[in-house]
Subunit: 361 residues, 2 copies
């Protein structure tokens, strides 16, 4: 099976590493000449809206998937006219704009924090009056890793936030006082079969995911699965989907969804019977989904900015390094490290040990 | 780190799949234009004794290793003059000829079955008289997967075996009545640290490995480790080495060694904390060795001749397909399947289920 991937970064790289043992061959469309996945297949260097590049990707592929959400709709339609695309671009459309995403959650009775759409500074003042502070102002499209967001704590923050983010469609959300952030990574096959990973419990800093821990028996698992199942069924989804949730004393609130493999599921490479990457390629190729059961206790630590000294990491037992082959740059995800242990307490010791050797960034 | 591999078959492919996440880049020297590893790095199409091809491999590599034993000594020396080669070619030299290999075992007090070297038909008759029948006549070099071997059961078999194999250096070995065949896959780092996997219990048919089972707590483990440790230390070995042994009522007898990753260790990809492939690349790059502890109960089934229907395999939970991207051909290893389970009894059910869908070959 020949798989085309829109995007050639670390997610495409890990999809290929999972699919190659299954006999799949990969072609990546990515404008960056040094795309990290390029070594694992054919690399079409081109823009995501370049008709010739999109046609070349379609011609090289039995099925196309994508590693990031911000693919132009016209480009997706051009691919769809030529080749099956999974997940169907309707999932992209739903998640591309925070307004439509929140409406979808509401339609499916998945709780979301109170929010108000904001298109002008007067809207913003009215929204602040309605929701109260603190609140979070976000661009409705193109945000990632905390980019395109501003936290409003006092009335004085309003003008500055408008100054920084205004001029594009925005959304103001009530600031949710959560006890923790979790995600549910789920998969659905072409035949409608579904599979759910254990809950990931996620720690962010400066808007960037730092640590995800697999929570084998989590009190929120059943509800989080139910919410993800509604999304998968409603979207007639094929592939892996991640749903990020805030856990609060009032219950779970959906934050956002990602119609793709997700950073908070990277621990599944070593920490589950079948990784999220393998299940995504299995799903888009029409193969049966694999077992999502956890293997031991696992956590994943992102390497932000640059990689740590690999010797200092690998001297620990059952520690696994994933180098994305990217140039170091402040704030950039350049790799991740998975740690695993039979016991939860030993795992935390290992998390601490690896945290010590990670560069600050 | 840039790694060169002499050979571009499935072992090179799996070494690359293990090394790429660690940030390593690979170059393969292989005369076959359709070498299965080629998609995972740069492929130098050339003969193993072609000076220009060997120099190109050395120039492209910080360290060179190999995936098969029958590399001409001159070629190895040419590489050694230009770049570090691990394991050191002295290990190749020791294992290339069954006579020197058996002598090495004897020197290290590793028991071997009685044997006699045979260079002429008169030698063979004398050897049969000395060892008795049954016995196994083998070519001293270039044998693999049961090729270059003949079992002598009666005096009538002697002439036919000579007819088929004579003319090259041979060895006659007493036929060992073993209860089972096992192997010990072991690794040694550049710093001399060693690591040993659990015993693999191996089932051959027609001279070809069919099934390897990881034996987590095996009564032969300590002795097998001790023998492997002697070889690693004596050869100042760097990388993964496999030692095949016959388990008999009289104890373990060494059959042969392989100075490389080994088919009987393929289960380690999913069945051990660190696979034999990752430990080999870690070792040759001077990185710390990884944990060799098993994960659950695991067995590996070879796909001989052609692959089974992938859907029929993947519908079972915790089953993993490894397609070597090779053209089907009778007797050829074209892939393997790893099955894993928490319990040994469930594992055997899974082995039986997969055996049912494997094509006969």
């Amino acid at each position: 099976m020949r798989i085309g991937i829109v995007g050639g970064g670390q997610l495409a790289r890990m999809l290929a590493l999972a699919g190659i043992p299954l006999g799949m061959r990969f072609t990546f469309l990515d404008p960056a000449a040094d795309a990290g996945a390029a070594a694992l297949g054919r690399h079409i260097v081109g823009a995501y809206d370049d008709p010739a590049a999109l046609d070349a990707l379609a011609d090289a592929s039995d099925v196309v998937t994508y590693e990031f959400e911000n693919v132009p709709a016209d480009g997706m339609q051009r691919l769809l006219d030529r080749v099956p695309v999974y997940p169907h671009p309707r999932a992209l459309a739903a998640s591309r704009d925070r307004a439509s995403e929140k409406q979808l959650f509401r339609d499916l009775a998945i709780p979301v924090p109170p929010y108000v759409l904001v298109d002008a500074e007067t809207d913003l003042r009215r929204a602040v009056a309605e929701l109260g502070l603190p609140a979070v102002l976000k661009t409705r499209t193109l945000g990632y890793d905390g980019k395109g967001q501003a936290v409003l704590r006092t009335a004085d923050d309003v003008a500055a936030a408008w100054e920084r983010l205004g001029g594009v469609p925005l959304i103001l959300e009530s600031f949710v006082t959560f006890t923790r952030e979790i995600s549910m990574v789920a998969a659905r096959g072409r035949d409608g079969a579904t599979a759910f990973y254990p809950v990931s419990e996620n720690v962010h800093r400066d808007g960037i995911l730092r640590i995800s821990r697999c929570r084998r028996e989590d009190p929120a698992a059943t509800t989080a699965q139910e919410y993800a199942a509604r999304l998968l069924a409603h979207l007639d989804y094929v592939g892996v989907l991640a749903l990020e949730l805030f856990d609060t004393p009032q219950g779970l609130y959906a934050n956002e969804m990602a119609p793709r493999v997700h950073n908070s599921g990277h621990w599944t490479i070593e920490g589950a019977c079948t990784s999220q990457f393998e299940n995504h390629v299995r799903a888009v190729c029409g193969l049966p989904l694999g077992d999502t059961a956890p293997l031991g206790c696992t956590a994943m630590l992102n390497c932000i900015g640059k990689l740590p000294d690999i010797d200092a990491v690998l001297k620990h037992a059952d520690v696994h390094v994933h180098d994305y082959d990217k140039q170091p740059r402040a704030g950039r995800k350049v790799g991740h490290i998975t740690v695993r242990s039979d016991a939860a307490s030993a795992l935390e010791d290992l998390v601490q040990a690896i945290t010590q050797v990670l560069p600050e960034n």
